[in-house]
Symmetry: C2
DNA sequence: TTGCTCCTCACGTCACGTGAGGTGGC
DNA sequence: TTGCTCCTCACGTCACGTGAGGTGGC
């Protein structure tokens, strides 16, 4: 018979852990002195303690350990639990390896440029959404070409949607497709809408497809100055081993009269890794 | 201005998370309606939310994130935090990889033999300890040769320690060293002792060195039947990619009159990985 | 009226670590 | 008397998830 302290030393565990295992029924002392409440453990209980610690070290929860020890699991069941644990460990290692890569990318930016790495970029999925849109050609992907075109389109579109009896359900979305003649691009000015007539209006209603993976950054201020933000985003994509899959979408989160107070989310689609 | 639900959707976080970040001061809404308590967020706050999520995804705690965002950390400080995080991630990946190896070793045992793998084996450090000991030669490492010798030694040793006025402070330890003539071995029957005279008694007092890494298993029953347990231990050492570094120590945890109720821990030293 | 969104508590999670406050034997 | 070990609460950890119970506008 060992006292709790002696037993803890032999088993390389804390006294607190033994009390915890007692209270949860995982490992009850062989005897408890009724007068003092002192716990006494038999040497043979060391085998069970070792089993508990070994399974715990594999990363099983105490509840799982209890099941494995008390339910007399079969070899086949044990195999199932180990296979599950293997999968969990693998995905955890993969996730941590990914994290490590991102940490290292940021460290490289600091080492090589001595500047603060961008930390406000998110990779996320952009869900599909139904929009009403008008399109127009732009000569080049520069703000000075795009802004006038897009402003005109949104002005018309808003009115037409109202006239069609439909309602706008969220912030405006602009996106770009290559021009059919290979020169410049087509800008799409879109507004999310709910139901409504399928035709009989000058705009088109289409379903923007989901973007599986987009790198996003929030741009503050007039879109006339968006190039720097796009550059930060492009740089980040490169540094982190992603690849762009086309023109970015622009989500106009806030568009007050003062253009310098605009807030826009830039959503650049990424090639699947 | 967005309601908490809209803001949560744009930021790909739960409403509960935004409330949590509000309550901890990490991200306060731009405005709270005094009458209803409704939270309203400005589009520009999405940048901060993105920073929070990005840093959290790297594995920083919310407290660390708060420091990084609110204390205006310098590039150098950011580098320090990233270097620290890199080290944490590396060691976590290493630990999980180790765990994964152990899980896979157990799975191999099941696949190849269809039997339950041993789960009561622990790798642990055995601390140094001062003992009084007597030694004797044995012809071979078989129980039938060892038992009579060791029993005699312990009988003598116990009496001699008492006569020397010393006290036994823990369970008996037996260990083996190769015989000088290369034939058989020397068995050491040792008992942990506290202080006492350095000489003037027939036994030797020595300090058993620490064992950095020992694979241990608890043997139940008479030591006459210890071979099977030793085999399990040896098999485990091999399966898990360790290597034995010599004869095992035996720690006699419980030695009642009925030899079948003995409990012994076998401690096999391992070569450092 | 029903649904939807918003609100504020407040418990639960997981495996203990860490006091606080007290006892019993050398 | 001082140290040491033992005991029983009970809070704290970390970042929310998940009800419970209630409100306000379409």
């Amino acid at each position: 018979m060992f006292t709790i302290g002696e037993f803890a030393r032999h088993g390389r565990v804390s006294v607190r852990m033994l009390r915890h295992y007692d209270s949860t029924g995982l490992l009850r002392p062989a005897r408890i002195d009724p007068a003092s409440g002192y716990r006494f453990y038999a040497a043979g209980q060391l085998a069970r303690l070792n089993r508990i610690i070994a399974l715990k070290d594999l990363g099983f929860t105490l509840d799982q350990v209890r099941t494995m020890l008390d339910q007399e699991v079969s070899t086949e069941q044990m195999r199932g639990m180990l296979v599950l644990r293997r999968a969990e460990l693998r995905s955890q290692i993969a996730a941590d390896t990914q994290r490590l890569g991102q940490v290292e990318a940021r460290l490289r930016v600091i080492e090589e440029e001595g500047t603060m790495p961008a930390i406000d970029i998110q990779v996320k999925k952009i869900p599909a959404i139904r929009v009403a849109e008008l399109t127009g050609p732009v000569a080049a992907m520069e703000p000075e070409f795009i802004t006038p075109v897009i402003q005109g389109l949104y002005g018309d579109l808003g009115m037409q949607i109202r006239q069609a009896g439909m309602t706008v359900t969220g912030p405006a979305i602009a996106y770009y497709t290559p021009a059919p003649d290979g020169d410049g691009a087509i800008v799409h000015a879109a507004l999310p809408v709910g139901g409504g007539p399928a035709s009989g209006h000058p705009f088109e209603v289409i379903d923007l497809p989901e973007i599986g993976q987009a790198a996003t950054i929030v741009h503050h201020g007039s879109m006339d100055n968006c190039l720097a933000t796009f550059q930060v985003l492009g740089r980040w994509i490169e540094d982190n081993g992603y690849q762009s899959a086309g023109y970015a979408r622009e989500l106009y989160l806030e568009c007050p009269a003062d253009k310098d107070k605009w807030v826009t989310e830039l959503q650049e689609p990424l090639l699947p890794a």
